[in-house]
Symmetry: C2
Subunit: 320 residues, 2 copies
């Protein structure tokens, strides 16, 4: 029988649990459990419930699994299992790993969600077979995962990979935007899906002429990167200009990270990049133009392969 | 008796060799030998001569040493000992490690010169005791060394740390400058000592009003970062503006690297930064303003401690 591992993805509203075949990376069973509240104890209960249900669906006893891995959107202090800061959950210094170990009766490894997703892509996705890897995710936020010598780089305090918070010049001389982190000039303030949508809404309210307005039927609440992509596909000039601008910011930031780290593989992932091929193409163009020639030699760029499953698969298979 | 190791620094005009006490990092003896030509065989001969003389000065037989390490300004393919590209020497794919092993009768490890200097700072300098380190060097060029989990990061093809070739916005909307690497928009095109001096010369030729002109006695050939620093110390407005501009470029690039890598220690080194305290202060100011708050927690910033000796000490003690 296949060696099964338990992978967990803890978001701000749900806990997802999956049993993953350690030999193939295949998800054998997965369950989702809503968080009754964001209190750590409630999150542990939701995780344990999802894990029990997934195990039952796969026909195994939870206790028969060797260990569990959890990806959390936040700053995780590596092997200690402590979540130092998770803004989505409102957590500060929560000993989540230890709480989970008690609840599940299993050793538990806690990691940043993008580190877990990076590990998934490394083990069974687009980075398979590489030991020097950079993964850039563009979803509602912007972040990265780093692999050096085949191991995750988590940094001195668990916040390595914060490429969303590197400082970038405002595109075309525009005024800097404040990021969700409170700082000015972060990449994520322009290129994260949430901020991108807010900006398009502002432009629409200011009277911008663009097919995005028709795509969302005049309903600003429906504005999204996907709506911009639809307008882009129709040849809309506003959307084209926006993708060029955001593509330059993301492509240059990714290129600079490649120039610094000299990875063998750069993986581009996250819901916004995967769902917006027009934007992804602009990112690739600016990446190719900006990466240093010596780091470009031998670099392979590829889209992420596991999508939303990367975090579950990676969490399940995290190294101790 | 102290355990002695042989460290070598190979530049474009000289080979330096030193015997380093492996327990203290102290240089017991050092010798320099000029390169008769830049041919690999001539470089090997110069290195061997310097090594023999240093060993003689320390009263040991070269063959009694355990191994040798060499820092070369160029792209080094890690354990293979191959120098893939060294523009200063005009080398491409030179099996320098193997050539050196034959000439010295010792195992030899070849590394990029800034990686070697980073290793020196890690073992016996300003990064001692840290396992997650970023060293930024500003001399005639701009480069970095990275340490993750206590080991050098050399990258997939030996060019990790090329922070001089990340793309930066031209300061104050000026036109981009071409870098020595052939690309436009590199940090080094503005902040490397050689390019910085060239630009100040251009400004002087264009009639810039600045005390730099008096500092160099009207002789453009004497323009250097040190001359700008002298003018800065006299309160010169041009020098103040230039240090602010270059300080912002370097400080922001260093901050972005810290945000990405989350090191425990950032070391600032290289002849230009060590020789120009006014510039170094501007770098620190912009670094503090631009680094992400989560990566700033627990970060220590310090000047390099070993100066020119870092490369020799680090090369001697490089891990196999």
């Amino acid at each position: 029988m296949a060696r099964l591992a338990l992978g967990i993805d803890l978001g701000g509203t749900n806990a997802r649990a999956a049993l993953v075949d350690g030999d193939t990376g295949r998800i054998v069973a997965a369950r989702k459990s809503p968080l009754a509240s964001r209190e750590p104890q409630a999150a542990v209960a939701a995780v344990a419930a999802a894990a029990r249900e997934a195990a039952a669906a796969a026909g195994v006893e939870p206790g028969a699994l060797g260990s569990a891995g959890v990806g959390v959107a936040g700053q995780c202090l590596g092997a200690s299992g402590v979540v130092a800061n998770a803004p989505n959950l409102g957590w500060r210094d929560v000993p989540f790993g230890a709480m989970l170990e008690r609840a599940l009766g299993l050793p538990a490894r806690v990691a940043n969600d993008l580190s877990a997703a990076t590990w998934g892509e490394l083990r069974f996705g687009a980075a398979r077979g590489s030991s020097e890897v950079l993964v850039v995710f563009v979803g509602s936020g912007v972040g990265a995962g780093l692999v050096v010598r085949g191991r995750l780089v988590e940094g001195a305090s668990g916040v390595a990979g914060e490429i969303g918070h590197v400082r970038v010049p405002p595109p075309r001389g525009g005024a800097p935007r404040r990021c969700g982190c409170g700082q000015m000039g972060c990449l994520e303030a322009w290129a994260g899906g949430m901020n991108l949508s807010a900006r398009v809404r502002e432009d629409l309210q200011a009277g911008a002429v663009t097919a995005v307005r028709e795509v969302v039927g005049g309903d600003l609440a429906r504005v999204s990167p996907g709506a911009v992509e639809q307008a882009f596909a129709q040849g809309d000039a506003y959307a084209r200009g926006l993708w060029e601008e955001i593509g330059e910011l993301l492509g240059t930031a990714a290129a600079n990270a490649v120039t610094l780290l000299n990875p063998e593989r750069l993986i581009l992932g996250g819901g916004v990049l995967m769902g917006c091929p027009g934007l992804a193409a602009a990112v690739r163009r600016h990446l190719d133009a900006a990466v240093s020639p010596s780091a470009a030699v031998g670099l392979t760029v590829a889209p992420a392969a596991l999508g939303d499953d990367a975090g579950l698969v990676g969490a399940a298979l995290l190294e101790r």
